[in-house]
Subunit: 203 residues, 2 copies
DNA sequence: GTCTATAACGGGATAGAC
DNA sequence: GTCTATCCCGTTATAGAC
């Protein structure tokens, strides 16, 4: 590929930046360091990504592309409610464990660009819940589950899944966990979330 | 007071910075601007608060001292579990509605200081849950509630309360809400959270 | 379109003299 | 405690090579 948006250099820069961000934290990595490790000139880096924040955003959007489809599909799949919820919680958690930058990225983007809704588009695309809401309403009509606001329920579901990743350092400090114990806590948490959600739906 | 930690200059700097942060947003206020408006030299400001981030942190910690006490006391109060949970959800939500910057502040500070969570003393002090955990275990022994991991339950509770405030712009965009409608959503949410938590505890 | 070199500016942080 | 000078970093700009 020789076009501006798919060049090897561009990809190399994104990969290098991604590694450094994960290893050292976004704010402890300088643009000069990224450029140097990728073996390119600093000016070239700004040629491709006008700013560090923009680079960050593009890395994030790529993550969404890789994992987003997986998560999005589940809510629209033809599955019984309980299996669907279990699969959603497990899959979403898997993605967040594999990609530790995701939650901090989303939150910093939301926070920094609160006024610029268009930038939230790729995040928003994750949350197409029409089929899921419809399913919740239908099951409620049949009396299989409690009659509950689907929007509130969905927000609760993603809160339970995502928030612990947002405050991971705080949880680790609070409970005195090392990274393995933290992983176990998040592992156990899948079941806990599933139980909570099903208990909420029980009529 | 002429000591380093209580000097008039120090307080003046914190007040000035606080006003500017609220008025213009943290990222749009420079340290030179704060120092100038407070009538002190830039280096003197760094003498008191080694960095802008540290200044931010101290302002934040001061600002949650009052509300923090309110929230902390509830978990340790002598109250039946259901009343306690209802009061906690309502009080915490009230605090977050009153100061919408609180959650973004906490998260950005956690995010920036991932390895140094201990520095967030005031945040950590909010989460002293020994009495609450003990109460959960005792009620479970009596068979009044389901036997559930108190730590997971507490994390779930604060996730349900806090996370929607962290993604407020996204929810507003997603549901097409103006600020009044958003306020109503958060108002309705108190009851929804309470129902969820009680359903989870039901044996 | 891709890449290098270099200079400059503004903002945050620091050393050291007083 | 206070101030000057300086440095580092993100960013912008320019001029030019392939």
């Amino acid at each position: 590929m020789d076009t501006k948006h798919g060049s090897a250099t561009r990809l190399k820069l994104m990969e290098t930046a991604r590694e450094l961000f994960i290893a050292k934290g976004v704010d402890r990595v300088g643009v000069r360091e990224i450029a140097a490790k990728a073996g390119v000139n600093l000016s070239l880096m700004n040629y491709y990504f006008q700013s560090k924040e923009n680079l960050l955003e593009e890395i994030f959007e790529q993550s969404i592309k890789d994992n987003g489809q997986k998560i999005r599909q589940i809510l629209n799949a033809e599955l019984p409610l309980d299996s669907k919820i279990k699969l959603y919680v497990n899959t979403y958690t898997d993605v967040l464990v594999e990609d530790p930058l995701l939650v901090p990225f989303v939150l910093s983007i939301i926070h920094r660009n609160a006024e610029q809704a268009p930038r939230l588009k790729s995040v928003h695309s994750l949350y197409n819940t029409e089929a899921f809401s419809k399913q919740l309403r239908q099951e409620a009509e049949k009396g299989h589950i409690r009659n509950i606001d689907p929007e509130q329920f969905f927000i609760s579901m993603i809160s339970l899944i995502l928030f612990p990743f947002a405050i991971k350092p705080l949880i680790a400090y609070r409970m005195g966990l090392n990274s393995e114990e933290m992983a176990k806590f998040l592992e156990d948490r899948r079941e806990h979330i599933y139980i909570m959600l099903m208990a909420t739906l029980r009529p």
